[in-house]
Assembly symmetry: C2
Homo-oligomer: 187 residues x 2
């Protein structure tokens, strides 16, 4: 039953402590006992929300991302504040980024974005019963809210026009989920 065994952090040295990420160089004892040194990016975790409007439309953002130097389609998302509950973060980010308040938010799944070097866990949600909130998002000029049909979003993924991991995983998870049977509804 070696798979159930864990490893152990032996020693860590922080080489960077930032606002968004920190980096440590860690000496780690693997479950086998073998010792390895790893560069680990620490991140507080994040949420993503798939907002479902009436008539199978969804809300996406077209957003400029400095890290990759380009515009990219994403679903609403954001980083957890320290100690923040993922569901509350999802409600907050949805309203901040789209102006919509959700009547119902359901958890879809959790995933690690880059488990080879990052601690980041993303909590993925789907939001229904959307109504304009009291908050008017200050979008600036680096983010644009768009509404597309779920069919169109799936097609955009297939054509690789959507290139964001959380967006691809969340939309395809939702349409494939046995819980929502959405694929049957789309037929």
């Amino acid at each position: 039953m070696r798979k159930s065994r864990g490893g152990k952090e032996l020693e860590s040295r922080y080489v960077f402590r930032g606002k968004r990420v920190s980096v440590k160089v860690t000496t780690f004892a693997l479950p086998s006992g073998k010792v390895t040194i790893r560069e680990i990016v620490e991140h507080r975790g994040a949420v993503a929300i798939l907002p479902i409007l009436k008539e199978n439309k969804i809300v996406m953002l077209k957003q400029y991302r400095p890290a990759i130097g380009r515009w990219i389609y994403e679903i609403p998302a954001g980083t957890l504040e320290p100690g923040e509950n993922p569901r509350e973060c999802a409600e907050r980010e949805l309203e901040e980024e789209t102006g919509y308040k959700a009547g119902k938010i359901l958890k879809l799944f959790e995933m690690y974005l880059a488990p080879g070097y990052s601690t980041e866990k993303l909590h993925s949600f789907v939001a229904f019963d959307l109504n304009p909130g009291t908050y008017h998002p200050d979008l600036g000029e680096e983010i644009e809210v768009i509404e597309v049909s779920l069919e169109k979003a799936i097609q955009m993924i297939d054509l690789n026009e959507v290139m964001d991991a959380k967006t691809i995983a969340t939309i395809l998870y939702f349409v494939n989920s046995n819980r929502f049977k959405w694929r049957e509804k789309l037929k």
Copy 2:
């Protein structure tokens, strides 16, 4: 047409240069002209490969990941060597991690894993016509090769037993793709 406009890196200071990742603090002029400071994790990019065996079975790995301190199901994957072609990297990693050599490797899509702070782009492939290669993988004790049906893998995703972003996105992309019509074959 402001969406087609780009931003501009004004100044960067490296705060960490590692083997796997480097981190820079960058002053960036957004497309709107607004100036912002960002922590950016630089990564060379990676590949992931979905190996399709006979009778709709696929190869997955159960792997211990120090960054998240746990075992996780993943498809074979690896980091690009400097200057390495993604397809060659995919062939190499597939054989190194599973012992299989692919007769046919097709590109599926590209995606950014964490575009909010990481430059990492992942190139996703599907591999067919698999035969045992000449290379015998040295798996150590931190990685186990498993074979499961595609149906079972989809169910494991739905139950959130698969928690790795590239694995969720690649498997669901493949079964939903109009190019492969796999969903119809699974019926």
